[in-house]
Each structure stands twice: as C-alpha cells, then as structure tokens.
C-alpha cells in the first residue's frame, strides 16, 4: 500500500501573489515533489518488507519485491527527464533551481536504496533452504525500521523545507551503523565456529544484507544533505562515525 502524501505537500518556499504568473511552472514543480514522495514512500515500506521476508524466509514476498525494482528504475528515469525538461524550458533560478537539483539527487539516492531492497530480496532467494541462525538475523529488522524511519523523516523535512529536521534525521545514521557492526561481529564469530563452505556462503550473504541496510541509511543521510542545500543554499557533508566503532 503506497502512502499518498501528495495531498499534504505544498510548495511553501515562495509567497503567492494575487496572480501567479508562473502557475504552470509551479504545478510542474509540485508534481516533481509529489513524485519524490510517491517513490520515497514505496522505498520506505519495501525496506521493512524485504527484511521481514528475509527473516521469515518468505521467498514469494522476496520475488515480488525484486520485481518492484523495475518500477522504481522507470520512475527514476521519468522524473529525471521531467527535471531536465523543466531546466530547458523554464530556466529555473534560486530556490526553484535548488529544488530541481535536490529532486535529481534525491531520486538517484532513492533508486539506489531500492537496489539494496532488491539485493536483500535476491539474498533471501539465494540462501534458499539453508537455515539461518536467529542471532545473525536478529538485528536486521531493527536496522530496516530505523532506516525506514530515517527516510520518512527525510521526506517530511523535504516537504516542510526544514533543514533542522533533515540534520536531526542524518544524525540517526550512527544507530544503524552500530547495529551493523554488531551483526558483522556475530557473522565473523559464526564463520569462525562453523568453518564450512555452506556456512560461509550463507553467513556472508546475511552480512551483505546487513551491509545493504547500513548503506541504505547512509543514502538517506545523503538525501538529508541535499535537503539542507535546498533550504539554505549551502551544501555541507554530515560527519559519519567511521566503521568499527560501537
């Protein structure tokens, strides 16, 4: 079920005059924004769903979510093309330009996050009937929830044009990193204790799924950086903790 945010999002970055002399352009910008929210909502939901499918060993659900990646890729291209068209036709300046720039960056990040979703779906299918120890999967649902909540927060900050909100979301990446590091250690310990080819292959794939979730959260941080640029006109990288800590 895709959450439809279109009704709640309105461009607020400029005052409206009695006669809006750029009504068509404003409508197109609003549509671009709504597109981001539509794709973002799906990506957010699928992060959680594909992780649940892995922990519940639901191969049918995994296959379904892998197929959905085609739609995300198509939307990415279509949104990009629309943005290029607006650049050519409307010569956007200032806030309008930054909105289109942010849309282009954000849709790229969303598409890559959904590539991670697709990756986790494939991992479940490839591990197949091999059993996965519960403690290796234990932290993945929480990672997915955190990443999905971060994405929801980022989309909210985007709609509200709130750079503070965006920065607060970006800071939450550290929690996901910590859970990834714990999972990584568990996988290493398991591989050490169960040195067989089949065990290594399964554990390595689980670690890769955890890595995908960690990278998803990183990409939400990138989205937050572009939201800050959109609002303030200044781009600044959010500092991440390095791997290995926590």
């Amino acid at each position: 079920m895709r959450r439809d945010r279109a009704h709640s999002s309105r461009l607020t970055h400029h005052k409206r005059n009695k006669m809006n002399i750029r009504e068509n352009f404003d409508r197109d910008l609003q549509a671009l924004q709504d597109d981001i929210l539509e794709v973002g909502s799906l990506v957010q939901e699928n992060l959680v769903k594909v992780t649940a499918a892995l922990t519940q060993r639901d191969f049918e659900q995994s296959r379904k979510l892998v197929k959905e990646d085609k739609w995300v890729n198509k939307r990415r291209i279509a949104i990009g093309m629309e943005a290029f068209s607006l650049i050519a036709r409307q010569q956007p300046m200032a806030g309008d330009m930054r909105l289109i720039a942010a849309v282009l960056e954000i849709i790229g990040e969303l598409e890559r996050i959904h590539d991670y979703v697709k990756g986790i779906g494939h991992i479940n299918i490839m591990i197949g009937e091999e059993a996965i120890p519960a403690n290796l999967l234990e932290l993945l649902p929480e990672m997915a929830e955190l990443a999905a909540e971060m994405l929801e927060g980022a989309l909210d900050a985007f709609t509200k044009r709130n750079s503070e909100l965006a920065l607060n979301v970006a800071k939450r990446d550290d929690s996901v990193d910590k859970l990834y590091n714990k999972t990584y250690k568990r996988v290493m310990r398991y591989m050490n204790d169960n040195p067989s080819e089949a065990s290594f292959e399964m554990a390595h794939r689980v670690e890769w799924a955890a890595h995908n979730l960690e990278r998803a959260a990183d990409r939400v941080t990138n989205i937050c950086e572009w939201i800050v640029y959109l609002v303030t006109g200044h781009y600044k990288e959010v500092q991440h903790e390095t791997y290995g800590k926590g």
């Binding site: 330009m97 930054r98 006109g233």
Partner: protein
C-alpha cells in the same frame, strides 16, 4: 557602505555611487544608492520596470544632465573624485565612461567614420587606420566589415550596428562602458554574440549593463545589483552580490521572488 577614495583611483572599484539620489523635478526617482562596481568586471543592473536602473546607469556618466529637470545628490566617485563636482567637465566624463544604447544608433556616416570621428574630435593622435581597425577588432566586427569600411553604417544588420556602436565607444579609449539594454532590439543570435563580446571586453574595460533579461544577467555578468520600486515610487537597491550567489541563493526574499519570476 562607502570605500575610501583610493579604492577607486586605481584600485578594486572602477566607479562607486555613494548616498546617491536622483530627482526629476520634485519626484525622487532613485534614493540612497550605494554601489561599487569592480574594475574589469561586468556588473548587471536588474529590476522591474520603473525601478530606476537606467536612471542609475545614466548617473554614472552624467547623461542625466541632459534632462533639464534632473538633479543628482550624493556622489559618484571615479578616479578618486566625485564626477558631479563643479569643476568636472561632463564631456570628458562621457569620453572615459562611454555608453551604448538599446537601439543601435550609428552615425549617418561610413563604418570607418563612425569609429574615427569620435576619436578625431577627442584629439586622438596617431595612425587612424590602426585605431579604427583595433576598435573594430575589439568589437568583433573587423572581419565582417574590413572590405567595406566606406559603406554606410546603416548598411549593417542590427547586431552589426550595435557592435559598430561599441567600436565607436572603444575608439575614444574609455575606462568604463555603460550599456543600457544593449541587446533588447536584437535577435537571439546577435544577443549571444554581444554577450560573448563583453566577456572579452572586460579584460580591458569595466562594463555596467542594464538588462531586463534575467537570464542575460545570469549568463553574462560577474556581479548583479537588483533594484526595486518602493511604495514612494523611488527606486532603491535591494541586493547586490556575486552573480552566481545571487541567482542560486539570494539573501533577500524580494530578490528570490523577482528572479524566479513571481513578480515583476
């Protein structure tokens, strides 16, 4: 914010307006203008109709003096001195601070004489043929007219005529070239050629250009000054800055509204 006089003598700014007001009779057309135009840069003056940008431009070389009811208060500092001081010769001001107008206005003379006449009147010595060729080359017109210098200036296209007017201005060796909507009357290709030309010209001259075309200001200038009309109908400076900064992240909400086309 005023700068010390040495900044304009041979320093960073070619010309500066300080607390400048311009009146037409009792009507104040522009108020309290403070603006510094950096040497060898292109400064664009933009704003909606009636905001006073052309009035400000004309004040830089005392062209407003030619309007009987016009009166200027404040200072325009050029070469360390106020050009409105009583002892200053406005004709000499206009030689050093030349102007190109919206409608190309070549003299009813040959192409050669269009360029040579002003130089001659101003007492230029030396090889006139070389001077004419140099000016026409700098105006990116030489190759198109070198074989027909004796033809009338009117035989040229609109874009060529405008470049001839630029050559005419250059021939008297100005420091600063003022341009009042120089491409408004030209087709898109001629417009872009003039924009390319002023990028070259800024190596040797300071350019100040009024344009109602925001994309032109964004494409062709280094600095942009945005003017608006206040409730008392006087024009004032809203924001001035580096062109890239002003068009990607303006500081003033009014600037944002204007350059995104939400008013004007």
């Amino acid at each position: 914010m005023s700068t010390d006089l040495s900044m304009t003598a041979n320093g960073k700014y070619a010309i500066e307006a300080r607390h400048m007001h311009v009146y037409y009779g009792s009507f104040r057309a522009v108020k309290d203008i403070a603006l510094q135009c950096p040497r060898n840069h292109i400064t664009a003056l933009i704003g909606p109709s009636g905001c006073g940008k052309s009035t400000v431009l004309r004040s830089f070389n005392r062209m407003n003096d030619l309007i009987q009811t016009a009166r200027t208060e404040g200072e325009i500092i050029y070469q360390g001195a106020n050009i409105y001081a009583p002892e200053v010769d406005p004709v000499e001001v206009r030689r050093r601070i030349g102007m190109v107008f919206q409608k190309p206005n070549p003299f009813p003379k040959s192409i050669y004489e269009n360029v040579a006449w002003g130089a001659r009147i101003n007492g230029m010595k030396g090889n006139m043929d070389e001077l004419v060729e140099s000016a026409l080359r700098q105006a990116a017109l030489w190759d198109e007219v070198k074989d027909k210098l004796q033809q009338s200036g009117y035989s040229l296209s609109g874009g060529q005529q405008q470049r001839l007017c630029i050559a005419r201005t250059i021939a008297v060796k100005p420091d600063i070239i003022l341009m009042d909507e120089p491409t408004s009357a030209l087709d898109p290709v001629a417009t872009l050629r003039i924009e390319e030309l002023i990028q070259e010209l800024k190596k040797n001259y300071t350019i100040i250009i009024v344009t109602h075309n925001m994309q032109q200001a964004a494409r062709a200038s280094d600095h942009t000054a945005f003017f608006n009309m206040d409730s008392d109908r006087a024009g004032y400076l809203v924001e001035y800055g580096n062109t890239n900064d002003l068009f990607t992240n303006p500081k003033n909400e009014l600037t944002e509204q204007y350059i995104t086309g939400r008013f004007g």
